[in-house]
Assembly symmetry: none
Amino acid sequence: MKETIMDKSIELFAEKGFKETSIQDIMDELHVTKGTFYYYFKSKEELLKDIHLQYIERLLENQKKIISDPSKTCQEKLFAIIYKLIQDIEKEGQRAKVFIREINHLSDQYLDIVLPKRDQFRENVQLLIEEGIKNGEFRTDLPPDIVSFGILGIANWSYFWFKPTGKVSDKRVAEIFYEMLIHGIQQNN
Amino acid sequence: MKETIMDKSIELFAEKGFKETSIQDIMDELHVTKGTFYYYFKSKEELLKDIHLQYIERLLENQKKIISDPSKTCQEKLFAIIYKLIQDIEKEGQRAKVFIREINHLSDQYLDIVLPKRDQFRENVQLLIEEGIKNGEFRTDLPPDIVSFGILGIANWSYFWFKPTGKVSDKRVAEIFYEMLIHGIQQNN
Amino acid sequence: MKETIMDKSIELFAEKGFKETSIQDIMDELHVTKGTFYYYFKSKEELLKDIHLQYIERLLENQKKIISDPSKTCQEKLFAIIYKLIQDIEKEGQRAKVFIREINHLSDQYLDIVLPKRDQFRENVQLLIEEGIKNGEFRTDLPPDIVSFGILGIANWSYFWFKPTGKVSDKRVAEIFYEMLIHGIQQNN
Amino acid sequence: MKETIMDKSIELFAEKGFKETSIQDIMDELHVTKGTFYYYFKSKEELLKDIHLQYIERLLENQKKIISDPSKTCQEKLFAIIYKLIQDIEKEGQRAKVFIREINHLSDQYLDIVLPKRDQFRENVQLLIEEGIKNGEFRTDLPPDIVSFGILGIANWSYFWFKPTGKVSDKRVAEIFYEMLIHGIQQNN
DNA sequence: AATGAATGAGTTTTCATTCAT
DNA sequence: CATGAATGAAAACTCATTCAT
């Protein structure tokens, strides 16, 4: 039931927004009464925290798997991360939407738990860049932290416009972004 | 007065969020009564629409100025657009925050007015890329629409992390992102 | 309107209790909507605080008038205070009931305002006793603080049993208590 | 278990109030589930009734022991009753608090059981006074019913202010009140 | 005896909006 | 232009109670 409530709330939060979705709305769709919600969650905000935590933890896990693969170069790992992020929109689009859009409805108490994990995801990308710089895969004249923000910007922003139903596949988008990032958009003669 | 209300509401919307800010909150800070609000605005949502419209129109104007400058190459124009966007965070950070974050509180009726202008901003970037491809400045093997989304992702995402008070200036960030985009992050031997 | 709400709420709090009376109950009887309540009061608890404060301040005022009368002996003043307290049940019985019974529904924040005034009322009785001891009216071998608690106990407890409609008048009850206190209940031969 | 629930609920009712304490609160502290409560009690109100009944019955028993002691004078018996009441605060303070403060949360159905016993306790004091009047121990010019209310007022009110941890012992307080009642507070020359 | 899930009616509170003055 | 009062619909949350297991 707890899982059911989370799933349905993600669906509604993604569609209408956190503030616009009432507990009533969620429970109505599940054909159970409002009181039931509070048997499983302490508050609406706790539910949102759980959604965030579950999502970022899965994200970190995936990232870890990719990064710790010794058979891949840094460039390949970078592609894998970007691909995974965009691929997620298809399968976990709603979760991602909520994760990116509704973070500001968490109060400090919960942010203290969620934000460090979010930061770590970005930091791991930075570490990957740094490693790539050391081993000669990446340019030495670009600051890895800013670059990591740029890369995540490209990928995360997809949630605002990418439609899985469109004519361009998630893999193709990832490839284009990867190409753009690796070789730049300038024409080389 | 209308301008005063808009300014104060932007301030509060940016800080606390649209839903979290009541008309009362806004008017309290202006030391006028709630009723006054409805003399100047039909509804809270109309206020939000006005904020969005004002912002995107100024953005489009700036963009137009940059693009229509015949003395600049496409690459220079691209840099100018990125720089302008990031520079805005410093001067218009609150407006930008509201613009990016609170779009989903506009109902269809208002989205019909705002969204086309938003799209046009992105489309203009795409047109710039296309022009650059034609004149040999940009690579021909990358689809301009996806690239334009990527570029805006890099720039817009800054609103989530860029602190004007930090040790890296807006100009420097813009330069790094520009470099990254133009030449790519790969080390070339 | 604020006064009307207070009056009606005192009536209902006295009859049914603070917790048992909902804002709805109060406003229903006044034929206005619930929202109106929050135009006049910040919360239900603030209303209770206002009731307490209004009551204890009137009590202190009356007490001051009695005590500062130079034409009365301490014994006469003591009688006046007791009489006033019991007399109040007839006219202000509901207020008194709420004042005595519902104090524990005020949170610390409000208790800090109300309790010092309550204490002062008791302390003033103690000061009166002390003065009477000095001028030879009262026995020197009884501690004035405990005595003051005893006196207030006798008077305040009336709220639990005294019925203004009964066959004994408020004045008669005050006289009996006064006699009992002054000369004791022992038969002297 | 039933006894355990009663004990813990008295503790919590005394501390936070009847309405403010939920069944959940009580059972949480006992590390059992809410459902268990309804195996032992029909309702929350029945629990409160049981607490009241248990308390007043013990009180009546004690009173009976004191009153039926043929070796004591009425004055001695009166002292014993007052002492016992105040002494109770130390040992049974929480029970007493609930007994005095939460009576109004009992509905008529239960009041019919509890109130007669409460009244009887007071009436027994009245009977003691009447006996003392007959045998010449007490004044004949004071109505025994009102006097009994006064005596109980003095004693019961202690629950609102008497702190067992204070510097004055329960016995000393009882003695002072007894003296005050017997001989009065007036200075006799 | 005890549990765990669910209910439903109620509670306080918020707030966009209206409107006579 | 601006105010102050009122509305009404909805929100989050609480909790005594029930009941199958």
